[in-house]
């Protein structure tokens, strides 16, 4: 018999290796990169301490703010696109019949694809000359709606948000399905007895029961959207003329195309700070809703 104290120690020890690895590869680099942000550094050669100049420059650069705005578009698209779609699908598809399982797998499919593949596929779908979108629009007679979806700065941010939504509905769907199926069957019976069926049951029982899961999903959405990078990088590289620049592509381009490692580090530190702020704000907002 292992006493509870001993098992507590055992758990701590068992966690230690991964904790060490996590510190070594995640926590330490975050602080390291914040530190590099204080230097003028081209990746090789001499470094020059310049205090907060990199951070100040980033905050004064209109492109940084445009990147943040674009990131917020992705955040909004995720929260108002992914979460409702995943929730509706989960409510409709929570039985374990063959058909329901098939549709759930189909929705989950894009998640299994490499994000680079997703970017390439959608790059072709949006292709100005032989892309599917323009082809369909022409076929139904909406010729004047056709455009270079990824090169027209009026629409390209929304165009790149669609594949991101499409890509990540799957895992949220699975989480919602799991949450709904975790509602004890006694409650279902109680609902039946009390006459809570249909929309009433959904609003008064199901949603409150999975509210915690919705909160988790929203936090994951925000965190995921702020580090969005791969699909956009593959589809547009942040262009044209930096119109689809996200914080992450902005950081990447500055670090690896212009060789400003110090500046890139400062930007990535700002990304961490912004992410923490947004997650904090969303937590506070949702707590308010609950009470």
């Amino acid at each position: 018999m292992i006493t509870s104290m001993r098992s507590g120690r055992f758990v701590a020890l068992a966690l230690l290796p991964s904790l060490l690895l996590y510190c070594f590869f995640v926590i330490v680099p975050v602080f390291w990169s914040a530190y590099y942000g204080f230097f003028e550094w081209s990746g090789v050669g001499a470094t020059k301490g310049i205090g907060l100049q990199n951070y100040a420059e980033a905050l004064q650069d209109p492109v940084f703010w445009r990147a943040l705005k674009n990131n917020l578009i992705i955040v909004a698209a995720s929260i108002f696109g992914q979460v409702p779609i995943a929730l509706v699908l989960a409510i409709l598809l929570n039985k374990n019949s063959l058909f329901h399982r098939f549709v759930r797998s189909a929705v989950f499919m894009p998640m299994v694809l490499s994000t680079v593949v997703v970017g390439l596929i959608w790059g072709y779908i949006y292709h100005p000359q032989f892309g599917l979108v323009n082809f369909v629009l022409e076929a139904v007679g909406l010729d004047n709606w056709t455009r270079g979806w990824l090169s027209d700065p009026d629409v390209n941010m929304y165009a790149v948000a669609v594949p991101i939504i499409w890509n990540f509905i799957g895992p949220y769907l699975i989480m919602f399905v799991a949450a709904i199926q975790n509602i004890p069957s006694e409650i279902d019976d109680a609902c039946l007895i009390d006459g809570a069926i249909g929309r009433k049951k959904l609003l008064l029982v199901t949603l409150p029961m999975i509210w915690n899961m919705i909160k988790v999903v929203i936090v994951l959405c925000i965190a995921g959207s702020l580090k969005a990078f791969d699909q956009v990088f593959v589809m547009t590289g942040g262009g044209p003329a930096q119109s689809t620049e996200l914080l992450a592509t902005y950081m990447y381009n500055n670090t690896f195309n212009i060789y400003r490692y110090g500046y890139g580090s400062a930007v990535s530190t700002l990304i961490v700070i912004i992410s923490m702020l947004m997650i904090g704000v969303s937590q506070v907002l949702m707590r308010g809703k609950e009470s």
Partner: protein
């Protein structure tokens, strides 16, 4: 408590393992520099040499270059050559990393212009002029200006093994004939051609500018040189008496904007890959495309012979009243092998020998026959190369060369030009764009 100790032990073992493997990769980099230490004692039986290049691909040129190095290795058993072929995408970063750690290879392939200048300024190179003196016929075989991008303070630091023009104008004969359009030699003729092709539903110029270097390397370099002349550009790069806000550069940007406004490029050019644009051209959807030697290779590899026969090559049209010579193409004067400053004695002899084997007259001949343009006078056997290569070779030997923008501008300046051209295509204002380019370059040069 035994339990606990075991866990602490295994955790620390794990940590040690992580640290050790980190060291392991460090040692890998040392490999490149180990040759330096081996060279010092004279009684060493073998000379060791390390050489880095980026001919890692499977194309004809890369195979030829690797073959030339192997040829040297086979002929010189007394020299131990450590060859590293690094994929082009990470090549420059890898070199910069070892340069920082002072573990440079003895010989390495470098681009002319800003890349070799960086190593020269870091005091990491030595000139190879004596090798050229030793073989005067070889030296005189190079085309005029071949050494320009590799020369500092009157000393030559590398001999080019290729020539890379970046703004050859490829055009489709039959489309020009079909719509009775003259292959443009002046700006007005170009604008007329654009109008006619657009009226007939043909894209005038195919361009894939998603990776934004394309418009810069294939169009603005040539176009702006026609307007400003090369001297102005080189002074503007140095921020010495010229600036990118000068009226002639704004005018050049204005010409580019005219192209975009006249719908010279296909819809959504900024979201299309360069290779897709080349395919669009070779399939007869576009009348012209601008490109470099890579276009030549790509087209030769993918297009049918009939399609290739339709293709002609020429230079970008002249611009009225411009300061530059219109019979020119922007070109990189060619990559060459540069030598580490620390190479001396017998090792240096061997290194020079190796350079001569891979860039001497015979090597240049072989490289040319791999459908690669060289900056050297060679007699190419027409049977051994494609007809389009022959046409292009004839063209480039009859024109002058002007600097490619990104070979001379700082990385930040290049990025500003690339983004600025996309901005112009989206309706941006030439003066604002010029100001951004000027700011980026001025800041980079100031550092």
């Amino acid at each position: 408590m035994k339990f606990k100790k075991a866990w602490v032990l295994s955790a620390s073992a794990l940590a040690a393992l992580v640290l050790l493997s980190a060291c392991g990769s460090g040692n890998g980099n040392n490999g490149g520099g180990s040759a330096d230490t081996g060279s010092a004692p004279a009684d060493e039986p073998k000379v060791e040499l390390s050489i880095w290049h980026n001919f890692s691909g499977d194309d004809l040129r890369a195979q030829t270059m690797r073959g030339l190095i192997e040829q040297y290795v086979a002929a010189h058993p007394e020299v131990k050559v450590d060859v590293q072929a690094i994929p082009p995408d990470g090549y420059k970063q890898r070199l910069k990393t070892v340069a920082a750690a002072n573990e440079m290879p003895d010989l390495f392939l470098s681009n002319p212009g800003s890349m070799i200048a960086e190593f020269y300024n870091g005091d990491l190179l030595q000139p190879i002029g004596d090798l050229l003196e030793q073989y005067p016929e070889w030296r005189d075989g190079f085309l005029p200006g071949a050494f320009e991008g590799h020369t500092f303070d009157g000393e030559i630091y590398a001999a080019p093994v290729n020539l890379s023009p970046s703004s050859i104008m490829y055009y489709n004969h039959s489309l020009f004939e079909q719509y009775d359009v003259k292959v443009p030699t002046t700006w007005d003729e170009l604008m007329t051609a654009i109008e006619t092709f657009n009226a007939n539903g043909i894209t005038p110029i195919s361009m894939g500018n998603k990776a934004a270097w394309v418009a810069q390397s294939t169009i603005i370099g040539t176009l702006a040189d026609r307007v400003t002349g090369s001297e102005w550009f080189l002074s503007a790069v140095e921020q010495d008496g010229a600036a990118f806000t000068d009226p002639q550069f704004v005018e050049a940007l204005g010409y580019f904007k005219q192209l975009a406004d006249a719908e010279a490029f296909q819809d959504g050019a900024n979201s299309i890959d360069n290779t897709q644009a080349e395919q669009y051209f070779i399939q007869g959807n576009a009348a012209m495309t601008l490109g470099g030697t890579w276009t030549l290779t790509n087209l030769a590899a993918t297009a049918s012979e009939e399609a290739l026969e339709q293709v002609g090559v020429t230079v970008f049209p002249a611009i009225p009243g411009g300061a530059g010579d219109p019979n020119t193409i922007t070109a990189s004067t060619g990559q060459g092998f540069a030598m580490n400053k620390d190479v001396t004695g017998a090792q240096r002899e061997a290194a020079l020998d190796l350079i001569y084997t891979i860039s001497g007259p015979e090597a240049q001949q072989q490289i040319a026959q791999s459908n690669t343009l060289v900056n050297y006078q060679v007699e190419v056997d027409p049977a051994k190369v494609t007809p389009l290569f022959n046409k292009t070779y004839e063209l480039v030997t009859s024109v002058g060369f002007t600097p490619i923008y990104d070979a001379y501008l700082s990385s930040a300046g290049t990025e500003a030009v690339n983004n600025g051209l996309q901005e112009l295509m989206l309706g941006g204002d030439p003066e604002t764009v010029a100001q951004k380019i000027q700011n980026a370059q001025a800041e980079a040069v100031g550092n």
